[in-house]
């Protein structure tokens, strides 16, 4: 005991003596930087690839965040211009005296009126028609923002002549000129000019129904306010600059009263919030794509750094022998990787700023305001800092084990210094930091916990699954008897599982790129597919709606005269949901036991009645009741469609009270139908049995098939001439507009997704380059043993092509699952898988991998064995 105490005391003395004997002066930070620089000189190309891996991700983040900051500041600046007024009220009915009295209480300086409705416009000089959105205006609206016209400064509101301003796309479509006539309802207007932009509306607002502005005083002359057109009435107010705030306060005070009367109230703040929400989710989505690029960049950096540092093990051991502390050794490489990362981030930021200048142009059709390009330093700096920290943390993961390299390695190469990463507290801490940063970023970008969780969860699952595919590939190859393969194949396949292989990393990065891009492609194709059936095989391609009961026979006769096929017309009765199992819409939304989608409780339902289930509908539950009567006891049995069942969480036997234009009708869900929404026919959420709604005010809808363009135009023209209020919509044209919108959206998304692909390719280059030295040695040995350059190239070719094909297949398979989930739960359409596109995607990923791999390996096959052996020694 005494001995041990004595020994301990002696040891303690030794320790303090040793400490005292240590030099007072330690190499400072500058020496660490010098060493980092010395070490970097010979690995510039290698390190440049690390930098490149972060460029795409940072560029995407900087571009989006900068664009977003610009958009937000511009929206603040132009907020009043988004609405064009201080407040807007709208209703389906003309405002009654009580509403007008309430409007008067607001103390507005100026007021304006507008009536909006969809109608068919007829162009006599072109003998053609088109559904348009007419806006009959009166007063000085818009007071804020710009109503851009060509010639500039045109206004129709107070014109004494029947003139019209029509959207530029419509002018272009029908080759119209100023001075040409346009017939709306029963009145012919003269085109005074083109409408380029309305406050608060993007260019795509008028894609389906281009806008036509006419003076309100001529509305009754069109006759459309008397017929069955469904009009929406707007009342705008402008407050004086001095009392603006008070006016809005008064509006807020009466908001509930107005809304109780069915009047929608929109203030500048409402409009800003609404537009902001839409743009936020779009930008959030784009940011997330950028984030995935950054994530992949981080993963690839971690992989490349790991390989890079393996070649540094001996140097670290030597440094430790010479007296460098663990901290100093790791600091040298930390500095190195951080500097390289920072350079990559700065390059990415520069590129991001350049991209940002093109984003407003790219997004122009969706933006409700003019967006000047401005540099937003805080967002650039923020993204830069975030990206740098995030990727540096990734690089730190493989750096940490450097601390544990024993100096003994300098004299004995077999000394193992590794400690399991999961037992290293610093490793777990870094991993935690990465997760935290990822979560914080996702939550702030999506501003929705569920979305953030789904996104992160989805990405995590995708990464894990892809890593599993990579692992499985190695597992299978390792167990495969390769003897029967030709030499080149044998060698290439074996390379995929041999030590130092990058198979899993490559499958993950490339697979993620393919996964993201193809998911978007599948969703886009599935959505577009919805309309593919229109016009084919005799399917209807013109839909006629707003047919009044007394017009029905005439419309059908017109179609018959033109010798066109038509479907049986269906009546439409509008109604609103009053209660479901005794719960009002508000109570339904607040009911924790029922997951109800808000839109389904508030919408105007356009229901029909009939005594049969249509052939293209499928009865999936319950029994359809063909007829009933209001005089019957008990609720009326109704049939509901699957989508509304999902949206309202309905089941058979649920009781719904409908407000049928003032008359409450109690119904019971007795059957559930599934409708093929791709059929361009009138489809209904709710079908009543015959004998209940016949007396309710209704209009009719029917559809026809026009085999060619002439008959289609002929039908539209005839119907519009005879029944101006009836809309005869050309579905092909609508689908073309839809396609155009998807093309633009698709382009923006593909543009952002290309950053991910780019990162995937850089990651591939980085990992190929990382294993270059090892490859070089292997190749030299093979060359020495008699392999030809062709064989060496063949080995690499097979290896990269196989990784590409596997990554492509895995990515595409994952995107089919993601596409299914997106189409099923988000877009609510059927999944459509374009096989050609699928094969092409896999081939593209494989070819790009092959090409990048071979380009990056150039020289290895050509190198003379002697040269390699010398450099190795």
């Amino acid at each position: 005991m005494t001995d041990s105490l004595g020994t301990r005391a002696a040891r303690s003395q030794d320790r303090s003596e040793m400490r005292a004997s240590r030099p007072r002066s330690q190499p400072g930070l500058s020496w660490l930087f010098i060493m980092a620089w010395r070490d970097m000189r010979r690995a510039k190309r290698h390190l440049a690839l690390f930098a490149l891996a972060v460029v795409s991700g940072i560029a995407a983040l900087v571009a989006i965040s900068s664009f977003r900051a610009n958009l937000e500041s511009e929206m603040d600046r132009q907020s009043r211009g988004l609405l064009g007024a201080d407040v807007a009220y709208d209703d389906r009915e003309p405002f009654d005296a009580r509403a007008l009295a309430l409007f008067n209480l607001m103390g507005a300086e100026e007021t304006a009126r507008q009536v909006k409705f969809r109608t068919m416009a007829y162009f006599p000089t072109k003998s053609n028609t088109r559904i348009v959105r007419a806006q009959a205006m009166e007063g000085g609206f818009p007071w804020y923002g710009s109503l851009d016209t060509r010639p500039a400064g045109l206004r129709v509101a107070d014109s004494e002549e029947p003139i019209a301003l029509i959207e530029d796309s419509l002018m272009l479509q029908f080759d119209l000129k100023v001075g040409d006539p346009i017939k709306i309802g029963e009145l012919t207007f003269t085109i005074a000019g083109e409408l380029l932009k309305m406050p608060g509306e993007g260019a795509f607002t008028g894609s389906f129904a281009p806008r036509v502005l006419i003076p309100l005083k001529f509305l009754s002359a069109t006759g459309l306010d008397r017929f069955g057109s469904r009009l929406r009435y707007f009342h705008y107010q402008k407050f004086s600059d001095t009392t603006g705030g008070q006016g809005v306060e008064v509006v807020e005070r009466y908001r509930d009263d107005l809304e109780a009367m069915g009047i929608d109230v929109d203030t500048v703040e409402d409009q800003r919030r609404q537009i902001g929400r839409t743009l936020d989710s779009t930008n959030g989505f784009l940011s997330m794509i950028g984030f995935v690029a950054l994530l992949l960049g981080g993963v690839s950096i971690a992989g490349a750094v790991q390989v890079y540092l393996k070649s540094k093990t001996a140097s670290v051991a030597t440094l430790r022998c010479l007296g460098a502390s663990a901290r100093q050794s790791i600091a040298i490489y930390c500095i190195q990787i951080s500097i390289v990362g920072l350079l990559g981030c700065l390059t990415g930021a520069l590129l991001g700023v350049a991209i940002q200048t093109s984003l407003p142009e790219l997004m122009k059709p969706f933006l409700p305001l003019e967006l000047p390009v401005r540099i937003s330093w805080p967002s650039i700096f923020g993204s830069l800092l975030f990206g740098w920290l995030f990727t540096s943390l990734f690089a730190l993961l493989p750096l940490l084990p450097l601390r544990r390299i024993s100096p003994l390695r300098a004299i004995r190469a077999s000394v193992e210094s590794a400690v399991e990463a999961w037992r290293d507290r610093a490793f777990l801490f870094t991993l935690g930091g990465l997760l935290l940063m990822g979560c914080l970023f996702t939550i702030t970008q999506t501003q929705n916990l569920l979305q953030a969780a789904s996104f992160l969860g989805g990405i995590a699952v995708a990464i894990v699954l892809l890593a599993l595919v990579g692992w499985l590939l190695r597992f299978v190859l390792r167990r495969l008897s390769l003897d029967r393969f030709p030499y080149v194949w044998k060698q290439a396949l074996a390379n995929l599982y041999r030590p130092e292989n990058r198979t899993t990393m490559q499958v993950v990065t490339l697979g993620m790129g393919a996964f993201l891009v193809f998911s978007i492609y599948v969703s886009e194709q599935s959505l577009l597919r919805q309309g593919d059936l229109a016009g084919r095989d005799g399917q209807p391609n013109v839909i006629l709606f707003d047919i009044q009961p007394d017009q029905l026979e005439g419309v059908l006769n017109t179609i018959e005269e033109l010798d066109l096929n038509t479907i049986k017309p269906e009546a439409i009765v509008t109604m609103r949901l009053q209660s479901l199992n005794g719960l009002s819409p508000t109570q339904l939304i607040e009911d924790p036991e029922r997951e109800v989608e808000r839109w389904a409780t508030r919408r105007e339902y356009r229901s029909t009645y009939r005594d049969f289930v249509r052939e293209d509908e499928e009865l999936i539950a319950g029994e359809f009741t063909p007829s009933a009567s209001l005089d019957d006891e008990g609720p009326i049995p109704v049939s509901v469609e699957q989508r509304i069942v999902d949206a309202l969480d309905l089941k058979l036997g649920d009781r719904i009270v409908w407000d049928v234009q003032g008359l409450p009708i109690e119904t019971e869900v007795t059957s559930i139908r599934k409708v093929d929404w791709r059929q361009m026919k009138p489809n209904f959420f709710v079908v009543f049995p015959a004998g209940v709604l016949e007396a309710a005010p209704a209009f009719f809808v029917t559809a026809a098939h026009a085999p060619n363009r002439e008959s289609l135009v002929g039908l539209q023209t005839e119907v519009v001439k005879r029944y101006p209020n009836v809309a005869a919509v050309n579905l092909t044209m609508i689908l073309e507009s839809l396609e155009e919108i998807f093309d633009r959206i698709g382009f923006v998304i593909r543009f952002m997704a290309s950053f991910t692909i780019l990162t995937g390719l850089v990651a591939l280059m980085a990992s190929v380059n990382a294993s270059r030295y090892q490859r070089s040695r292997e190749s030299s040995l093979l060359r020495t043993l008699g392999a030809s350059a062709k064989q060496i190239r063949g080995i690499m070719g097979v290896e990269y092509a196989l990784v590409g094909i596997i990554a492509g297949l895995a990515g595409v398979a994952l995107s089919v699952v993601a596409g299914w989930a997106l189409t099923r739960f988000v877009f609510r359409v059927d999944l459509y898988l374009p096989w050609q596109g699928t094969i092409v995607t896999v081939l593209i990923v494989a070819s790009l991998t092959l090409l990048t791999g071979l380009l990056n390996s150039l020289g290895i096959a050509r190198r003379s064995p002697l040269e390699s052996i010398r450099s190795e020694s």
């Binding site: 002696a10 040891r11 303690s12 030794d14 320790r15 003596e17 040793m18 400490r19 004997s21 240590r22 030099p23 007072r24 002066s25 330690q26 190499p27 400072g28 020496w31 010098i34 060493m35 010395r38 070490d39 970097m40 000189r41 010979r42 690995a43 001996a314 140097s315 051991a317 030597t318 440094l319 430790r320 022998c321 010479l322 007296g323 460098a324 502390s325 663990a326 901290r327 100093q328 024993s406 100096p407 003994l408 300098a410 004299i411 004995r412 450099s871």
Partner: protein, 239 residues
């Protein structure tokens, strides 16, 4: 105990031991290999006086390199005590031992262990820089000139031959004027013609600097040039 076989010698050695720059006492070293412990060193005790040159020889797998690692403070014994420069280094942490190596120890390795990304001059400067010394370029350059590489200072290791690389390693080993130099098969990677000048240089520099030299080698001829030979066999020192 090799030094304690004779009572008289043991008595005389008391004073020598006090002067010892390296002293090992009952050093054991075991490695865990699967379920069993593999004992590589089985109670090694010896001391080396300042300025002495000692060779450690023995067959492959006898524990030479393990012993060198423990002597130089690169590894810790499983039990026993190691005193380097008069201080017990056994309880010291890795970073404290690193500082000690930087102060008192020089190394020459069989495979040279030059930092491949540093020039010859920078390789020689590192030990001094690690001490926080400034203006070390001239000192390093002088030493490189002494080893005959004054015109190759800007070359990277890959641009030097094996013999030249070992000369750089020698310059690096002596630049911090170590009290004790450990050389692990310094000519193991060199041919006979190249070995001779390296050995001459090693002993020449050692003599000039008055450094203690511990040499691990297979080469009996080289071993005989040292003051004393320690033979290790089966983890034990033998006479």
């Amino acid at each position: 105990m090799l030094q304690g076989t004779n009572t008289e010698a043991a008595f005389q050695s008391e004073t020598s031991e006090e002067r010892a720059v390296l002293r090992l006492e009952s050093v054991h070293k075991s490695y865990r290999s699967g379920e069993t412990d593999l004992e590589v060193l089985k109670g090694i005790s010896f001391f080396v006086e300042a300025g002495e040159t000692v060779s450690i020889i023995g067959p492959s797998g006898s524990g030479k390199t393990t012993l060198l690692g423990i002597c130089a403070g690169l590894d810790r014994p499983t039990s026993g005590q190691v005193c380097l420069g008069g201080h017990d280094i056994t309880p010291l942490g890795e970073d404290e031992r690193a500082a000690l190596r930087n102060q008192h120890v020089g190394f020459v390795f069989q495979n040279f262990q030059l930092l491949p990304t540093l020039t010859a001059l920078e390789n020689v400067m590192v030990p001094l820089e690690l001490r926080g010394e400034r203006g070390v370029t001239d000192k390093a350059r002088t030493l490189l000139t002494e080893v005959g590489l004054g015109d190759r200072v800007g070359h990277y290791p890959v641009q030097l031959s094996g013999g030249e690389q070992q000369r750089v390693a020698l310059a690096r080993a002596f630049v911090n004027q170590p009290r004790i130099l450990f050389a692990d098969e310094p000519t193991g990677n060199l041919d006979a013609d190249t070995s001779k000048p390296i050995v001459d240089l090693l002993f020449g520099l050692n003599k000039t600097a008055g450094t203690t030299l511990i040499l691990v080698t297979h080469d009996l001829e080289l071993a005989r040039t040292t003051n004393r030979i320690l033979r290790i066999e089966g983890g034990r020192l033998s006479a």
